[in-house]
């Protein structure tokens, strides 16, 4: 195991909604440049894990560290400032704002001087967005919205990118395209946490994976090992 400080580390996380115990003793590590996927069915605690990482939900016990720094009590905005970005589930674009403004929001924490460069980078990755830059984000098609969401996240030049269900609600062709982009971004050196129900596709590009079930991490390991795992196959891959 490599001993450098992990980019993100969850240790002994227990999260509750009221009396309901959601996450139970979760531990997770993501290192620089890694592509990690977090698998789980409905209501397994995937979104809660993400929210805990982001600080939208505070764990009752356990710590969240970014770059070795304990951020458990740090509010969301300040965590984002430390080099995280997210493509949320269902994309969550700002509908009444233009594509350009959406991207601008992604770079909210970056100095204004850097904006130009970031726009160029994102438009290069998604030329379509350049064409659509003045259109309201709410009027775009699902695939286009996915691009905006990705672009928006990349605007902040994150070290760690969180993706919540990137395949949800997309046509199979677009899913494939989506994952190509994910791979591409990861290759550029951005560590990623991809939260997915679609285990097959995500494990095929990931370095490592975690499997959540009713709030517990039941499996973890290298992606290729997980692909071979009997239980997982039964549960997710239908084989």
């Amino acid at each position: 195991m490599d001993e450098t400080t992990p980019l993100l580390q969850l240790e002994g996380i227990n999260t509750y909604y009221g009396q309901i115990h959601i996450l139970q003793d979760s531990n997770m590590v993501i290192r620089e440049g890694e592509l990690v996927c977090l698998l789980g069915g409905n209501a397994s605690g995937k979104s809660t894990t993400l929210k805990t990482i982001l600080g939208i939900v505070r764990p009752r016990t356990g710590t969240v560290s970014l770059n070795g720094e304990d951020v458990t009590r740090v509010p969301t905005a300040h965590r984002i400032k430390r080099g995280m970005a997210i493509v949320p589930e269902n994309r969550r674009l700002f509908g009444p704002m233009t594509v350009r403004e959406n991207l601008e929001m992604g770079a909210y924490l970056r100095p204004k001087a850097d904006l130009r460069e970031e726009f160029d980078r994102v438009y290069e990755l998604f030329p379509l967005l350049y064409e659509r830059r003045s259109q309201l984000a709410g009027t775009l098609s699902g695939g286009e919205q996915q691009m905006v969401a990705m672009g928006r996240a990349l605007m902040s030049k994150p070290k760690l990118l969180l993706m919540d269900e990137p395949s949800m609600g997309l046509a199979p062709v677009l899913v494939e395209r989506s994952f190509e982009i994910i791979k591409q971004v990861n290759d550029a050196g951005v560590a990623m946490l991809v939260v997915e129900q679609n285990a097959n596709v995500s494990l095929s590009i990931a370095d490592r994976g975690y499997v959540l079930s009713t709030g517990r991490i039941v499996l973890e390991g290298r992606a290729e090992d997980l692909l071979e795992n009997e239980d997982l196959r039964k549960a997710y891959l239908g084989r």
Partner: protein
């Protein structure tokens, strides 16, 4: 014709004050989805701060400052005072209820409104306070100006209308051009997603309260330059501003401006042409009809989410 011009002028004066109040309602509603019932009382406190500062500066009959600096000092101190008040209210009465069921902050707002209105009454009594702006420069503000036909447009009205519109334009620029403004818009659309972008929600909310309350403070002074103020006026002013915000589509900045003006005109014309006695009733009946047939207001987007 003269009557029409005069009534239009009346409506414009009153409407621009209503619009300033409505903006505060809309800003806060847009982001927090909270009907900030205490907003009218912030307006009232603003008018009292203006009154107090005016007295400190020698009163209208014997001011230590020339006219224009005096007006600016009064307005700016009221805006600053109200901004602080707005932040305090948000911090202590609303923030602890951020994730509570909707009714909680609403009731809290009613409580704050009551608290402010009656605190002012404890401290300063219930009577009307008159700035006596007529005494400033021997009635210059009321008597000089230019004419449209036979109708005189007095300086004070020009001041009120111009100041109100300037403030609205500044706000409009802040909201549409600056990053913080855009962050406010993003937050009002999807608070969680905005947080995920690194937008500091608490800060955005505070900014909304600062802006809204400062505008209310300015509105308080602009209003009280023409008409007396008293602690109970907050409820009424709040009701007017709130109504204006609703007409325009609560949460929408241009809507609040339009709503304020529409309400001002509606009041002026019904009072001028129909009946002074029944004008309030007419205005409210029209509003109820409006609410039923176009609940989202003129500029509001229809509420897509069901229940």
């Amino acid at each position: 014709m003269d009557t029409f011009v005069q009534l239009t002028l009346n409506g414009l004066t009153l409407g621009s004050v209503y619009a300033l109040i409505a903006l505060g309602y809309s800003l806060v509603y847009g982001i927090l989805k909270l009907l900030n019932f205490a907003h009218g009382d912030v307006f009232m406190v603003g008018s009292f701060i203006g009154f107090g500062v005016l007295q400190l500066l020698g009163g209208a009959t014997d001011p230590v400052l020339p006219l224009w600096p005096l007006l600016i000092v009064i307005t700016v101190s009221a805006m600053a005072g109200c901004a602080v008040l707005g932040v305090v209210i948000e911090r202590f009465a609303y923030r602890p209820l951020r994730d509570a069921p909707r009714i909680a902050p609403l009731i809290s707002a009613l409580g704050v409104s009551f608290f402010l209105a009656y605190s002012m009454q404890v401290l300063f009594g219930a009577e009307q306070r008159d700035y006596d702006a007529f005494s400033l420069d021997n009635g210059k503000l009321f008597l000089s100006g230019f004419d449209i036909g036979n109708v005189r447009v007095p300086l004070l009205r020009i001041v009120i209308i111009v100041a109100a519109f300037l403030l609205m334009i500044v706000l409009w620029l802040l909201v549409t051009r600056t990053r913080t403004g855009k962050a406010m818009k993003a937050t009002s659309y999807d608070r969680e997603a905005a947080a995920m972008m690194g937008i500091d929600i608490d800060r955005v909310i505070v900014v909304a309260f600062v802006l809204g309350s400062a505008l209310a403070g300015a509105a308080g002074v602009l209003f009280a330059l023409r008409a007396p103020t008293f602690p109970a006026i907050g409820f009424l002013a709040g009701l007017k501003g709130f109504t204006a915000a609703v007409i325009g589509g609560i949460g929408s900045v241009p809507g609040a401006m339009a709503g304020g003006l529409i309400l001002g005109f509606a009041e002026a014309y019904t009072q001028g042409y129909i009946s002074t006695k029944w004008s309030d009733l007419l205005v409210f009946v029209i509003l109820i009809g409006f609410m039923i047939f176009r609940p989202q207001g003129l500029f509001g987007r229809p509420d897509i989410k069901k229940v």
